[in-house]
Symmetry: C2
Subunit: 189 residues, 2 copies
Amino acid sequence: MERGYSTTSIDDVARRLGSTKGRIYHHYPSKADLFAGVFRTAMDLNFRIVLPLTRHGGNAAERLIAMARAHTRNMIETRAYQRAVWEGVELHLRGATTPEQRTTLAELTRRRDAYEHLFKATLDEAGRAGDLTFDNLSIANQVMLTALNSPIVWYSPRDAGSGETIDNLVEQVVTFAMRGLGYQGDITS
Amino acid sequence: MERGYSTTSIDDVARRLGSTKGRIYHHYPSKADLFAGVFRTAMDLNFRIVLPLTRHGGNAAERLIAMARAHTRNMIETRAYQRAVWEGVELHLRGATTPEQRTTLAELTRRRDAYEHLFKATLDEAGRAGDLTFDNLSIANQVMLTALNSPIVWYSPRDAGSGETIDNLVEQVVTFAMRGLGYQGDITS
DNA sequence: TTGACAACATACCCGGTAGTATGTTCATGT
DNA sequence: ACATGAACATACTACCGGGTATGTTGTCAA
């Protein structure tokens, strides 16, 4: 989270743990595998929180709002993991050293794609129901997710001190995204 | 753009140029300075395109639309530079090696902040005029810019083949952002 | 003609880092 | 009591990559 994948050495991680390199390599065969563990944990968190919400009945748009809210809150609260994911996806798709690591990363990327598809499907349903207005589904999904993810980049815990609660932040981001998709209804929870 | 700052070696850059390391170090004192050159070029492009639009008279909201459109198009067309900026800002704020390089990076970061302020000021003006509806100015600006920047991440030239022109993409992104800010008027150029 | 300098190319150095090989300790089963 | 293996710590290796030192070539002014 703090220094990025490639600029953080295993010794750095060990030092932070008050531990040693030997210990880390006892549990993880390589640096890339350690990263994969972080990635996997992040995706597990995401699925665990959002997947149940896709099963709820009723209005697709309202389901999407609930998903967006949960997702955004999750991005803030598990920000350390999510930043690692973001950087890692781009960095590793090219720079992955061994072919074996490539396949691991490919699997994780598929997992992230599946996660994004949860939103895409709901978005599509809400669009067909006439509750949203957008042109291209894929593009709308990308822009929406980027907006919802944005706290990963700019959120800082010190913001909490300036009168803004996390609830407040989440509502602002979700409101922006839903209005951006042409939603006309009420958004406040 | 392709492999990120820290994973790309000077030899890689030289190879791509059909050149050698010696040539690069003849023109740039360090890798960080080479990066700073890319950053500076990107920011120059941004200012050159958006700054004139801030001087136009009339409605602040319409000015913001013009700025957003120009900005988004610029992000797509100069994507190679902008990706480097994005990664570099985060990576260097922490990992900058020498204090000298830190000051260089600090100056460039201030330049980016000044660029973002162009949007923030116009956003504020449009909000006070009652044409936009948002809660916190800083947050609204961040989310809006993240959305406008999003093509940096997901745009790929092959998308152009699938019937989507760049004009089309820009309009979708700008429409999303302006509606997200509560703009009710017409957006189409 | 020559001296100087820009504009490189080549060869080299050296610090940092992923990964490994080899101890060492402790718990547990027999 | 003893063997065994997990769970580490320590010491070491190999390599990569930023940076430097040193050649080489062409140009241009005096």
